[in-house]
């Protein structure tokens, strides 16, 4: 069985002190704990600091366009349902440019694990507001402070009855690794929104800020209770719950297609006889 080390050890392009390092660590641990081998995993990402993560994981990688990790991951999963597909990107990527795909992926309940490094900022492009940036936060692009209501990804995911909704904190590596394992094992769209300090562009939501606020959901918390989940997902401020907020057992889109016989995996051969019959209908 593969260990966390088998998932590699690469030099990164991140800033010293960035919250991404612990996420990377948790991810490697999670992959190993989930019993996966590098070649069984396909990491798909968009563009941004978070989206560089797959380059630092020893696995199959498709590093695509900004905002588009989810559709690319969806296509890959439908093509080869045997793959463990993980989409990993930033808050800007998934909730900004990719907002429409976020909604659709949840509705599809495609069996993809979605890891969002939520640093509440556009890191790679040097600090513009992302959809999760708090109201009033001043940046060069928002000189009068953000005027938009921030987007709550976990509440939205719960509302839309995503298969699996969790929130993690990059400062709690083992807990996060465990969330990742659960997310991977869940058959359906699994969101892990990960609170991640950005030391270069977010001086509000720092490591200390999160450390003070994040608390684990109690052991008797029932993630299948939608109403409770919604309430927890709305909790933000002095106390921020982390853990599995919600999950359900809806059948994933890829299973539907497999069962219908549409998705037959990559080794299936074209049946020319069958095609001939289809053609004859045109006679």
């Amino acid at each position: 069985m593969a260990t966390a080390e088998d998932f590699g050890n690469y030099e990164t392009a991140w800033c010293p002190g960035c919250g991404n390092f612990s996420i990377l660590k948790a991810l490697k641990k999670g992959l190993a704990d989930a019993g996966l081998e590098p070649h069984q995993v396909l990491m798909v990402s968009g563009i941004g600091q978070a989206a560089k993560t797959p380059h630092y994981i020893n696995s199959n990688v498709f590093n695509g366009l900004h905002g588009r990790s989810l559709p690319t991951a969806t296509g890959a999963k439908l093509a080869n349902p045997d793959l463990t597909v993980i989409a990993e990107s930033g808050d800007g990527c998934n909730y900004g440019e990719g907002g429409n795909h976020f909604l659709a992926a949840i509705r599809r309940n495609i069996d993809v694990t979605l890891l969002v490094h939520n640093n509440q900022i556009y890191g790679l492009t040097k600090g513009q507001a992302s959809p999760t940036t708090p109201e009033g936060y001043v940046t060069k692009a928002q000189p009068h402070g953000v005027m938009l209501e921030p987007f709550n990804p976990v509440a939205t995911a719960v509302l839309l009855r995503a298969g699996f909704v969790a929130r993690g904190f990059s400062g709690m590596i083992d807990h996060l690794a465990d969330l990742i394992v659960q997310a991977i094992r869940h058959k359906g769209l699994s969101l892990v929104d990960i609170l991640q300090p950005c030391v270069s562009f977010n001086n509000v939501n720092t490591f200390a800020w999160y450390k003070k606020r994040c608390y684990k959901l109690p052991g008797d918390y029932d993630p299948t209770d939608w109403n409770a989940a919604l309430a927890k997902a709305e909790e933000w401020g002095d106390r921020i719950p982390i853990g599995v907020l919600y999950s359900n057992e809806r059948q994933s889109l890829d299973r539907h297609y497999v069962e219908l016989g549409c998705a037959r995996g990559i080794n299936s051969q074209t049946d020319m006889r069958e095609l001939g019959e289809i053609m004859r209908k045109y006679a």
Partner: protein, 568 residues
Amino acid sequence: MRQENTSGDVNIVIGGEAGQGLVTVGDILSKTVVRAGYSMVVTQSYMSRIRGGHNTYCIRAGIDELQAPRESVDVLVAMNDETVGLHRGEMTNRGCVIIDGKSKVSSDGLARLAVPFSELSDKRYFNIAALGVVASLIGLDEELTAGAVDDAFGRKHPESVEANRAALAKAYDWMKSRRLPGLVLPPPRRSGGRIVMNGNQAIALGALSAGVKFCAFYPMTPATSIVLSLAAADQRMGVVVEQAEDEIAAINMAIGASFAGAPSMVATSGGGFALMTEGVSLAGITETPILIAVAMRPGPATGLPTRTAQGDLEFVLHSGHGEFPRAVFAPCNVAECFHLTRGAMKLAEKYQSPVFILTDQFMADSSRAVEPFALDGLDTVNPGAIPESFNGLYKRYALTQSGVSLRLLPGISRNLVVADSDEHTEEGHITEDLAVRVAMADKRSRKLGGITSEVIPPQYVGDETPELLFVTWGSSSGSVLEAAEVLRAGGRKVGTLCFSQVWPLVPEQFVERLEKALRVVGVEGNATGQFCRLIRRETGFEIRDRVLRYDGLPVTPEFVLAGLGKVD
């Protein structure tokens, strides 16, 4: 300029409102015509609405091989009064109007078959009665027609079979004493055996025959029917057809699927394609095979959403930021829709590049009589190489002479496959090493060499040293071929050069023909002569005389001949 029928063909227009069932009648009639052994070209013209307005379904049938629509009308099936006024001016001398006997509309001395529909059938079967009248009029066998009706309704509405039969029989009966000999088709030269297929169906069939396993789409006329044909076959053929939330998702899904090992395609039209252009560029740099079918309609923007055009050639050709190789096919007829789609899918896999099928509303909806495709033993796309064929450290973008790197699929072996939208190393990892950048850009460029070596030459027909040479591409080709024949019949030395692959161009394949001709005329369905400009860019040869159509209708032989008069 109207061209009269002389050659054993008949042109039927069924006109009426959306929702009146024109397409049902048209489809059954065209099936009967082909089963009877005739050649056929269908042209559909419809408005961007679900009910009302004015639509037409035009069937040209004949004993010789037809390749183009005709504008002049021999039989007008007027499903409402408005139709008569709208098409009166198009009627030939032998023209005849089929209309409800109750209608008071004037048909200005045109031969008129005033059909007592309410005597022939119940209101629900008027369509079938009308079908019977026109089928009988052009001399189609009643049993043959009835068979086509059964096939159309039998499975879905078994309860209606008898009523349909009865309405048809009554109509044939009523017609017995009313045959107009001028409209009866001569006996066919062959005995049927062909299939009836339009361009979009042929694209779908071609893709299936090549092994397509994934298609994502967002509905957009006139591309949607490609996808619906695939969806109808999804369980039988093992293909996933997924409606995406938008066109961006569609192309990124298809790229993801292709990367993972499913031969993949998308289908859209101009506005939807615009949203895909970033994805085209992604396919370019990640070297992911993908087939992109673009069915053109008149722009800009929403334009005329249900009409035809050839106005997006330059857009498709230059779509996507940055530089990377591609190939663009533009089928000249329905059979080519099948064969070129197959070829395009294979080319996409071979050169790990985006490849385009550029079609349009006219071709999409134009049913033709087509020889069934020989499917036995056809090869399919086999994505990626066999991992066992490879050992060593796998590099997705290994630099090679051809520019093509060994493609492995993720997950099926211990080799890790890494693809990147950034500039990348041979291993697929992001890099900012500028020497590597140049090596990778050059590698990608080299693939164009291979693609170029496989270019399908334009088809030349005609005299070796013509006084007049037509240059055209894609769906306009049929009309140009026919216009040339008309001119030849009038004694002129005419050649035609029809391009079914519009990129890359290989000047050696055709430039001599351009230079030898006394006069060259470009024919295209756009306002700026995009293909003529491309030829000049690639060869220096300027095609100054151009016959351009951009009113939303297909280029027809008449349009070419009339246009020739103007540029003459």
